[in-house]
Symmetry: C3
Subunit: 336 residues, 3 copies
Amino acid sequence: MMNFQGSHILSVSQFDRDAIARILDVSAQMAPYAARQKRCHVLDGAILNNLFFEPSTRTRVSFGTAFNLLGGFVRETVGEENSSLSKGESLYDTAQVISGYSDVIAMRHPKMHSVAEFAEGSSVPVINGGDGANEHPTQALLDLFTIQSEMSRFDKGLDNLDIVLMGDLKHGRTVHSLSKLLSLYKNVKVTMVSPNALQMPDSVLSTLDNAGHQVVVTDKIAGSLACDVIYQTRIQQERFESKEEADLYRGHFSLNKQVYQQYCKNHTVIMHPLPRDSRPEANELDTDLNELENLAIFRQAQNGVLVRMALFALTLGVENSLKDYERPVNWYTNKG
Amino acid sequence: MMNFQGSHILSVSQFDRDAIARILDVSAQMAPYAARQKRCHVLDGAILNNLFFEPSTRTRVSFGTAFNLLGGFVRETVGEENSSLSKGESLYDTAQVISGYSDVIAMRHPKMHSVAEFAEGSSVPVINGGDGANEHPTQALLDLFTIQSEMSRFDKGLDNLDIVLMGDLKHGRTVHSLSKLLSLYKNVKVTMVSPNALQMPDSVLSTLDNAGHQVVVTDKIAGSLACDVIYQTRIQQERFESKEEADLYRGHFSLNKQVYQQYCKNHTVIMHPLPRDSRPEANELDTDLNELENLAIFRQAQNGVLVRMALFALTLGVENSLKDYERPVNWYTNKG
Amino acid sequence: MMNFQGSHILSVSQFDRDAIARILDVSAQMAPYAARQKRCHVLDGAILNNLFFEPSTRTRVSFGTAFNLLGGFVRETVGEENSSLSKGESLYDTAQVISGYSDVIAMRHPKMHSVAEFAEGSSVPVINGGDGANEHPTQALLDLFTIQSEMSRFDKGLDNLDIVLMGDLKHGRTVHSLSKLLSLYKNVKVTMVSPNALQMPDSVLSTLDNAGHQVVVTDKIAGSLACDVIYQTRIQQERFESKEEADLYRGHFSLNKQVYQQYCKNHTVIMHPLPRDSRPEANELDTDLNELENLAIFRQAQNGVLVRMALFALTLGVENSLKDYERPVNWYTNKG
């Protein structure tokens, strides 16, 4: 049995297919607790330090909620201005001190590789909640979990997947990490739909090629969207050299009900890392899709709690004793 | 029996007299827990997301404390700059995501009607902690609870009340909401004491008139304060067109020991929504009244915890099982 | 038996030698909980309000962690901009309200004596987490606990101690408070090593003199460091009248491996209040000492949790019932 206890979770690259399978399996076991069919207090008395040196409401709250759902306490720090780091303290020193106040740490920081540097000074497991342009491994894991979960409704899995990655593929941290994870599976078709200026980097394309996957690169949505899953990301106007160039693309990569009906399959699932820009001029993922059953974006966000619960349970070595700490939920809920 | 479970608490207008009575009754049942005579863990394992997109230390801490007093965990967000809302995310999307991380949500936001808009996307009960100039229903409920509680010391109730609302009645959200609630009771006399420029809006006066109440509008305190309750609010100099006009009123509406002794009854209770400006130039509510037994302002603030505990218990459907989850308090306290 | 319950902890001056001994003794009893050999839920259901009107990540998290380690809930406020204090509310009013939401309060504030002023309005114990240039009693207590704990490895105690205080002794709040505490013990030798411009104030020197201690004042490290404990603090360039004067001292008071080997004893323990500036130009406490067993700086930081746990237990009167609320730790840890 794979053993994660005491490990840091820093990058998707640290996992092989078996490790990923274990994480996704434990994540699935968390669903009844998050859905409030029952609750679990296996980490009663444990302390998470949730260090968000770069603010991110959604990710921060998701980590904290995940820990509370397992019964643990959460201490929290938001923003670097409140931190000794601004007085010249090294990440090593900060880690020595804060890890002494913690059983596990989740950390987000704007600087690349800062979380790994911090982890070297920590006496407890550190989970990377995003280190600048580098990695956001829990996002990639929740994306993969979502694909597996959505595909299971159609008796499909992660092998033989037909997926479209769309939008700003050059700068999107989430689509890079997800591509790395997809390279662990068999016979995947990945269609990269983006403006030419925002194509997926060659290094990512090579990883998929080396895995024997079928990779299509295009700047057209017509004919490209008849797939299992579309993973949409935002195209930001400021990524282009001129407003004119941006205008050329404005709206070409927008997903809405009409596009879905014209180009997608009946079972095509739509994902998005959120937040989405819902302003009319955003042309990103239209709210007229909100009632579509295959719009998975909110289930995807909820899955983030399951994956983070799983990582806490695995790094703290309690993944096999969850059932010994179950209790009924005695308040009203309509989630289950 | 009235059933609040799963409901949003958005406005005082959503309640009739029976609903209010139920809330005040459950609030009173919370007193022994807040006074630490015993404690209650009925919400052990439940999660409140306390979303303060507009900061307000007192209200935020009061909501969080209320949830902890029932045994639940609190996740917290302060300030909009930390939020996805600033990236164009709709309140609907935010609610979809955060409600998936919560059993109940308390929310304060500077924009009118934003909390109701948020509630439409939420899968769990949302309690309005103040939405700009619109509503602050838990403040109005704690004000009403305080009047009932203080009057009970004199064998009086909410019917037949003689109350003075004083200060800036034009802009004061609290006195507007309280007036709406008073219109549910019988035979109330409401005296509105304010500078002419800051009079109570006609719509509020009409509501009281329609309820058959006796309403007096005046700009003089002499002869106006011989009542059961004075609800004092702040007059802000910047509300006037000129400094000269403000100077005319400066100090005319101040409450201090001398004014109290000259104009009030022996049993007149003083309330204030707090914070009060205690600087000498404020001329608001003098600290020489601090030792007066009928100064209810700090009891009023404590009552906020009781009312918020009641709303959590009611919306989560545990109001009838409190006694099954009681435990002794085993640390030192001098509250009880 | 000394009784702290219901007391405020405002200044080291409020304790005699017996009181200090009791605090250090209870602190030592907290070690197994912080080291996760077992856990303690004696304060299950209690509420700490952790009020940091001046931000300080390390101290704030340490107080919060200490309370969680005893099983209690933590409500938190960071930064004065979120507070009613900025609207003219007095510390007395704030204390009246917030203490009604709390079982105990920890408070840090930039203004001298503000915490004592606040405590006068509080109905629950208030622990000073630092009030500007005045006091930071929990830091002084953890420093003393650390000296006692480190000396015990060499069969020594607080009497007959040979200690060096080094760096900016004029402005360093920690070395002032520690000196006051040392005056309670017998036959202590205190060597004050600092630039002449940053010497220890006369009032502190007098306190040590009056206790019959041997006091040496010098601006040279050669010959001064062969002691039991060196307590290093930062010298800040902006403290000098000119850059030239600062340059004269730059590096003269730096501790590194070479200085340690040349001037210290085998058993000399190094302490520092942290954060230390780890940038190369800081010349403060070099990272080449990180592997030295006698570098106590990180143990010192951990001891802050023990001392704060002890103060919570003592002021809440549960220090004698800790063992009745012990439970096993059922997650992975490598701390114990």
